[in-house]
Symmetry: C2
Subunit: 312 residues, 2 copies
């Protein structure tokens, strides 16, 4: 058994065809065939069922390939450890960002990345927290920018900044005060994001509402897909919503008039960069963390805000 043979079976599992797999491995198809046969002989099992088309792994083959992927990942990390130690930051970094953060961070982040002329390749993908947790665990993503804490023992979270929540209200008479008392808000007035957004969960927690009771009491049932949509809904249909600081800052001056503080309370979300527990490229991660922290106002970096975090 050798490392290449493991790479070959993983390639065949990905491509489901020997010829294509050989190409991705930069070897000839006969070499691939031979090497896989050799591994199968050594383990005395069939890894692939070649009678199927497209080719597919046998039951035991699937287990072997799964373990091969884990092994290869660990071996790759040996190189990553060395590169990290030498402050070498070349290579790809796949970063996931949740939709309620992305619009307000990505433009600045891209700008910083281009300015700095880093050797690394930053690949950004917008997804929800739930997807990101899976992708961080299976290695599809290297890091995830999301609202913590996750309480997932397989991931490690690095808090980056703390973002206050604001109310955004319509021009109605009842919201003319500069402060909003959350206890007095009619939940029929409250517009929310779709339930897969973690921001929605935090707002439900903030208002101490269960999604169950919320659904039953809604007169109009519409769940927005983005904060921008929420704002537009409030403007046209009255009522209110709750938005994070960066999106509040991003509003036009005219709309900023509709922002309200909460009465007698501060509520924030903790924005974290989460990585897999066995992540090793911390030099690269630090550069990315710094770029993100440079993309938000200094006031958000104050970790004394931690005590006001709204948990999920």
């Amino acid at each position: 058994m050798n490392i290449q043979q493991l790479e070959y079976i993983v390639a065949v599992d990905n491509q489901r065809q020997f010829a294509k797999a050989a190409e991705t491995c930069n070897i000839s198809q006969p070499t691939l065939s031979l090497m896989i046969q050799k591994l199968e002989d050594e383990l005395k099992i069939q890894i692939f069922d070649r009678s199927k088309y497209p080719i597919e792994p046998t039951a035991i083959g699937r287990q072997v390939i799964k373990q091969a992927r884990i092994s290869l990942k660990n071996i790759r990390q040996i190189r990553e450890i060395v590169e990290n130690e030498q402050n070498c930051v070349k290579g790809k970094f796949k970063l996931g960002i949740i939709p309620t953060i992305a619009p307000y961070i990505v433009p600045n982040l891209l700008q910083k990345q281009l300015e700095q002329g880093n050797e690394m390749e930053l690949i950004i993908k917008e997804t929800t927290t739930a997807h990101m947790i899976v992708e961080l665990q299976n290695g599809t993503l290297d890091g995830g920018l999301l609202a913590g804490p996750l309480n997932n023992s397989l991931l490690v979270e690095h808090p980056l900044y703390y973002e206050k929540f604001y109310a955004y209200v319509s021009g109605e008479e009842k919201y003319k005060d500069r402060e909003i008392d959350l206890e007095q808000v009619n939940i029929n007035d409250l517009w929310l994001l779709e339930s897969e957004h973690c921001l929605r969960g935090q707002i439900e927690r903030l208002c101490e509402l269960k999604s169950q009771s919320l659904k039953n009491n809604f007169s109009v049932h519409y769940e927005a897909g983005s904060i921008d949509t929420l704002i537009n809904i409030v403007d046209t249909n009255d009522g209110m919503t709750i938005i994070p600081e960066l999106s509040a800052m991003n509003l036009s001056e005219e709309r900023q008039e509709n922002l309200r503080f909460f009465k007698n309370m501060t509520a924030v979300r903790e924005v974290c960069l989460a990585v897999n527990k066995d992540f090793v490229r911390y030099t690269m991660l630090n550069i990315i963390s710094d770029m993100i922290r440079q993309s938000v106002p200094k006031s958000m970096l104050n970790d004394e805000l931690k005590e006001y975090v709204v948990f999920l």
Copy 2:
């Protein structure tokens, strides 16, 4: 980089000498030197500081070796997956057993192992739960027989049997009843094991005592190292102790007269076989589990006792 090179650096790290390491790898010393140089060239780092004697890894070398050990473990698991699937149970299995279980299980277990003529080699080591948790995680032990639940997300526990607690009392007049009311027990009368034994923790929990208050109230301060010692102490110094079912069954007929049930309660401990989360040799584990379960009375296999488990 190849798998053997990883094995070579781990061997040198273990032996701290090239010549000895070469021997354990069954290769010549020059080959070992050359292969390690090759890896160092490829990674462009020094893994070992050859100026030191005995030889020792560099700072980065230590990290690389650590990751190499992880990688090699995962690669070994590929073979284990295959062997497990083929119900092949050859190879070593290092089993840890806590001291309050070992004396009553090991004799039967060894007998069963010899009777069955299994191909596997069973290596048994007696240690405390805390040590075992570390050793299961770093791979020094393959499995651990202990009292659960551990609440450790890196380990998986397989409950095997449930063992009732009994009181063992001296011949004093006040213990003449067949039942003992735990609420009425004077803690000065209660003899306990040293604090590293999990059984002690369970008994403290059972009596709702904190070790702090317990220590302060003890008139004679002696912590026993084994259940046998406890029994002897009770016999000579009066008072009482709490022992698990298997040790109770092991007592002489004369001493069994001193066993008492608890009034209005059943208390049990859950004996588990714990393994690392990524353990794969389940065919072998099942054989061992079966041998252990065959070594205890059938009444202990009833998992309805689960509800009476005393947690730690």
